[in-house]
Symmetry: C2
Subunit: 206 residues, 2 copies
Amino acid sequence: MTDNITRILLTDDHNLLVDGLKRSLNEADGLKVVGTANSIKECMEFLSGHPVDLLLLDVQLPDGNSIDFVPKILQAHSSLKIVILSSFAEPTVIRRAIDAGISGYLLKNSNSDEITKGVLAVADGEHYISPEANALLKEAPKHVPSLTRREREVLHLVVEGLSTKEIAARLDLSFDTIHDYLRNLRIKLDAKSMADLVCRAKDQCL
Amino acid sequence: MTDNITRILLTDDHNLLVDGLKRSLNEADGLKVVGTANSIKECMEFLSGHPVDLLLLDVQLPDGNSIDFVPKILQAHSSLKIVILSSFAEPTVIRRAIDAGISGYLLKNSNSDEITKGVLAVADGEHYISPEANALLKEAPKHVPSLTRREREVLHLVVEGLSTKEIAARLDLSFDTIHDYLRNLRIKLDAKSMADLVCRAKDQCL
DNA sequence: GTCACAATCCCACTTTTGTGGGGGTAGTGA
DNA sequence: TCACTACCCCCACAAAAGTGGGATTGTGAC
């Protein structure tokens, strides 16, 4: 935030959206889009080479779920403010993002003015969760299922369509072990079958 | 296409994207965005009340998969040109869209210029499939799995996380019948389990 | 140093899926 | 009429998933 200008990096794989967003943010006083990235990798690279004050980050990127990378990014760039820009209005996703340390959560079905408003608020040092997202959080006071490293790993493979046996082979673990992780995943995500597990995981983009 | 101006209706639930897209399309010669809609319902309503030459349609809308509605829309508005605007780069999705009678298929990771180019081409009477989408089609000459009404119905319920028994109850059919539909679905979608079925269905947004 | 918990493995048992057949009717188009 | 297909039902058996226990390490928090 040198001399009143907030330098912004946009990270989203939809160039179409990036184009439009860049224009409307640049029109706002005190905001300047200094770069764009299409993936987490590009985002990280840009951050290493350029000073950025605020990062607008899409949740789903070609190289993974960006929320998983938020802690890593904040560790390397502690003064950076991160605003998630998502089409997911899932309470658990929002909560996970907040827990990860983001400063804002905006929804893509907002119009440019609302987005600009949120970005300005965050640039100003506030925390800004879009009204719709906030409403969802209040309605659903469900706890966020906190998955362990292994559970996450197993879940990813389930979502790839692999069977228990195949996952065991892939991770070089015993069938029973995977059987157990799946049991825990079912409990944590409140799923009653493998198919249901895939549904929950896909919906909540865990 | 009265007097050289192509009247466009934008249908996408991401207002952010709509905002940007509207601006860049309006900047192009001969194109005018005459309306926007956030759902299939709104889209249909607008079409009934206003003359539109070209419809830019997102695949996933809150009230369903828009490709399923393309035939219906074309039936009611036969001279309308429909261009799909998708983030899905799945060959089967593209092929389904083409079979449904669309005039163009554009990807959201293109930039505004590429989108404008595609829209202009379609407005001009051409068929325009984005280069990336086209490349995918050549690589994967797989046949599109054509599902029957019932299969689609069953698949939707599978994607909701229901078990065979639950689906049977919901549709008031025998367990064996659903068992059979699931068998066919597995074969058609090349899935090897219920979980896999959910994966395929979600990926291909069937 | 105890306590919680991730991570790993095991057994036994039930239920659900998956696979391989076998039927039938009704409608559609050649 | 014949072929084809959607739609509906059935049996039997094998394989996978789900449920209820059990156990041993190691690590990090308090």
